[in-house]
């Protein structure tokens, strides 16, 4: 186990309590809204914030354990940190920013610089070696920050919202580059993000943090197919309902959902957005659920060539359809539609 931590910290009225485990070579995404404690968690792992309780173990070494009064300061932990606003040193060139870590670890100037140069090549910025941080675009600064963090070959790499400061166009491009660079990094990686797409695209596992507590952990598939709270469902774009089951009928608010299996009592229902079909007329067919509603929002998912349509009616549901379908049906906000779901597509599990 490369990272094994039980984190308990209290900062004023906020308290964070989370268990974090990451294997070597694994990328864990910590997903959560602002103020959920994501950055605090990273600061604890890096040694920038001491624990109040629990322990942090990195690469089989205990680096923080209040019970035994053990605390290893950040400079003696093998942890690289990519900060949200990069924090490149303004008085140093891109090259010397990257060489800073190797220099601090005792490398000679020439050796540190040659290491920095090869990393600049790796992130595709060898032409920017002498540029000062203020002369770099935010996408370039992000790559320099990443190169700086991995220059000392840390056992654990922490990335705090690495894509948050980028505009939409740079974002998907940089996400792709980040994925490539991260895939070459051998150690454990933890990436903090509030964007589920980052987490789904980049991570091996996702930990969902909300209000200082872990809501769910699992692979991207597990999280999207079995979100354990409405927040997670909303976040990963899955329809999650709560209802009361009586056989194959489940009462969800004013609507009734027909399922292929039989249940009783309080249940949670999951409907994948891509299982929702939109019609302009009431659909015919026996084992179907169909609800009438009005389109409240249309959102394009650039990475997956899909469009998310939010339909508000007796049941509020999100459908994921192709751009072609949107054109054919001339869907816009305010269009009256029928949202249909096969009974076999509704997943039910006890609440």
């Amino acid at each position: 186990m490369s990272v094994d931590a039980r984190v308990e910290v209290t900062l004023g009225s906020f308290s964070l309590s989370a268990d974090v485990h990451v294997d070597d070579g694994e990328l864990l995404a910590i997903l959560g809204p602002n103020g959920s404690g994501k950055t605090t968690l990273l600061r604890v792992l890096a040694g920038l914030l001491p624990l109040d309780g629990g322990h942090v173990c990195i690469d089989d070494t205990i680096v923080d354990d209040p019970a035994t009064d053990r605390f290893v300061p950040p400079e003696h932990r093998s942890v690289g940190f990519v900060f949200q606003d990069y924090l490149l040193f303004g008085h140093l060139s891109a090259l010397d920013n990257i060489a800073f870590g190797p220099r601090a670890h005792g490398a000679r100037r020439a050796a540190a610089r040659s290491r920095a140069r090869s990393l600049l090549v790796e992130v595709g910025l060898d032409a920017k070696a002498t540029a000062k941080p203020r002369e770099l675009s935010s996408g370039q600064a992000q790559r320099v920050a990443l190169a700086r963090a991995i220059a000392t070959e840390p056992k654990l790499l922490l990335l705090d919202e690495p894509l948050a400061a980028l505009d939409v166009q740079t974002r998907s491009e940089t996400r792709r580059q980040l994925r490539t660079i991260l895939s070459r990094f051998p150690g454990a990686r933890i990436l903090v993000t509030h964007d589920p797409v980052d987490a789904l695209v980049l991570a091996d596992r996702i930990l969902v943090l909300e209000g200082g507590a872990v809501v769910q952990t699992g692979t991207p598939d597990e999280i999207t197919s079995r979100p354990r709270s409405e927040y997670v469902a909303e976040l990963v774009g899955v329809n999650l309902f709560r209802g009361t089951a009586d056989g194959d009928h489940i009462q969800v608010g004013p609507a009734v959902v027909t399922t292929a299996s039989s249940h009783t009592g309080a249940v949670m229902l999951i409907v994948p957005p891509n299982a929702v079909v939109l019609h302009l007329e009431e659909p015919r067919g026996s084992a179907r659920n169909a609800w009438r509603g009005t389109i409240a929002g249309i959102e394009h998912l650039g990475t997956r060539e899909r469009v998310r349509v939010r339909v508000v009616g007796a049941v509020t549901i999100v459908a994921e359809v192709t751009p072609a379908a949107v054109r054919e049906l001339a869907l816009t906000e305010g269009t009256e539609v029928w949202a249909a779901v096969k009974a076999t597509e509704v997943e039910v599990f006890p609440a």
Partner: protein
């Protein structure tokens, strides 16, 4: 009837404010004009190049630079502690370190004499080990340091206080020890303020008079700096050399302040 369009970026300044500003500027400009008006331009060069005044000028420059160097070496750590370490009595230490800015320099000189003079509080022990500060060039340097260092401490302390400490955290995650972080990240971050503080400190040391003459005396070639020399000339009733040397002091200070202004002193 047409109304004149105004540039909206140009604020309309009340007349009373303009009047005040003009008067304030006059307070600075008029005395300077007085010096320039009475300056004996024809004999200026011979005054400046006389042995006595050259010695005083050299001594002034040497002692003020030495005082600035001491102020930087000792004042930066003091500023760092004052900005970053919360300890009991910090407010008292701050007041005491800024005291020389309000204390009459002559009083400062007397205080130095009572503390470091031959029979002073600390001086009696220094005397045993053969260190004699009063009436010696080292005394002149110390007097200048005493009076000028607060300018450096004040400027640098403010910079330490406002510097973004997250850059220091970033450096520590990269493996830099606390001292390395200070040397390679914090100091470069506050460099503009450090230079500005050092220049202010140096300018104050260059013009120092009261503490120097009280503590270090007025020994030609040893402690008689340019301000002291000007004073001696005035006492002798020869006003022309005093004017020329004053202008020289002014010219040096102005040249340094102007040359550093664009690059370093924008904060001032």
């Amino acid at each position: 009837m047409t109304t004149r369009r105004r540039d909206p970026a140009r604020e309309r300044v009340p007349v009373i404010v303009i009047a005040g500003a003009v008067l304030a500027a006059a307070i600075f400009v008029v005395p300077l004009a007085g010096l320039l008006w009475r300056a004996p331009w024809t004999s200026a060069w011979s005054v400046v190049s006389s042995g006595e005044s050259r010695t005083a000028l050299r001594l002034s420059i040497e002692t003020s630079i030495a005082a600035t160097a001491i102020a930087v070496v000792l004042g930066v750590p003091l500023a760092w502690v004052q900005a970053r370490v919360a300890y009991r009595g910090r407010g008292v230490v701050r007041a005491l370190t800024l005291l020389p800015m309000v204390l009459p320099p002559v009083v400062g000189g007397i205080a130095l004499l009572l503390a470091l003079g031959k029979k002073g509080l600390v001086g009696q022990y220094l005397d045993h080990v053969g260190v004699h500060l009063p009436f010696h060039v080292s005394g002149a340097i110390l007097a200048e340091t005493f009076v000028a260092m607060p300018f450096l401490v004040l400027t640098v302390e403010g910079a330490f206080r406002t510097a973004d400490r997250r850059f220091e955290e970033a450096a520590r995650t990269l493996g830099a020890s606390r001292f390395e972080v200070f040397r390679r990240v914090t100091l470069p971050m506050i460099r503009p303020s450090l230079i500005a503080g050092a220049v202010l400190c140096w300018a104050r040391a260059l013009g120092e008079f009261g503490a120097t003459i009280t503590f270090a005396g007025n020994l030609q070639g040893h402690t008689q700096t340019l301000p002291l020399f000007v004073y001696v000339k005035l006492e002798e009733g020869t006003i022309e050399p005093a004017i020329v040397l004053s202008l020289l002091l002014l010219a040096i200070s102005l040249a340094v302040l102007i040359s550093l202004r664009d690059r370093w002193l924008s904060a001032l």
